[in-house]
């Protein structure tokens, strides 16, 4: 998948999990940029992304991300 395709699918996951149709994420997006992206919703988002893309992250990987783009790079490394 291209980065753009991944972002589009992740965006749909954010919309579903956070119940906000107006969300439009980019590679530069961080939790500070999205309403309701709090610590518990972060967990819901990770679970939803792992389930949707049929992959697993490690806790170290999650803690290393500074923005959505770094998560996508991590996903690309896993063959997405």
């Amino acid at each position: 998948m291209t980065k753009e395709e991944i972002i589009k699918e992740i965006n749909n996951i954010f919309i579903d999990v956070l119940d906000d149709e107006d969300i439009a994420i980019s590679e530069a997006t961080t939790s500070d940029d999205v309403d309701d992206w709090d610590s518990l919703n972060h967990i819901h988002l990770v679970v939803a992304i792992e389930k949707h893309f049929k992959l697993r992250f490690t806790s170290q990987e999650i803690q290393s991300w500074n923005n959505v783009g770094e998560m996508i790079l991590n996903m690309k490394e896993k063959g997405i």
Binding site: H42, I43, H44, V46, E50, K51, T58, S59
Partner: protein
């Protein structure tokens, strides 16, 4: 600590104390739950227990019956398949079907089966193990 396929079994009885406690604390006195004639007129054999009493049993399962205490419930859903009546004895079964180690999340499927071997309710509950 948990692995996919782990199973937990227990029994819960809808006792008069539990029923009275629920009615008094949450003040849901819908006639389906407190008026025998009303419930019978709508096709039930007795007053129908509040479905959310079963959610209380889920709380007990998560809070008291799992081998770890540093956990919180992240989400829960339940489908009520058949009515539950006062003094019903429910066999409860829960099993781990998904684990997300990156965020310490464990997903359980559960079901309640009554003494007539009829499924009363089933659903899923998701917990997080805290550091």
């Amino acid at each position: 600590m948990f692995k996919v396929g782990d199973e937990f079994n227990s029994k819960f009885k809808i006792s008069k104390d539990i029923y009275d406690g629920f009615v008094n604390i949450f003040n849901d006195k819908n006639p389906m739950h407190v008026d025998l004639d009303f419930a019978k007129n709508h096709g039930y054999s007795g007053i129908v227990m509040h479905g959310n009493i079963l959610n209380g049993f889920i709380s007990h399962f998560i809070g008291e019956q799992l081998p770890v205490k540093n956990i919180i419930i992240l989400s829960q859903n339940i489908k009520f398949n058949n009515p539950v009546y006062l003094n019903d004895l429910l066999q409860f079964n829960a099993s781990v079907f998904e684990i997300y180690e990156s965020v310490n999340v464990i997903n359980f499927k559960f079901k309640f089966i009554n003494q007539k071997n009829i499924t009363a309710a089933k659903g899923k509950v998701q917990i997080k193990k805290l550091d």
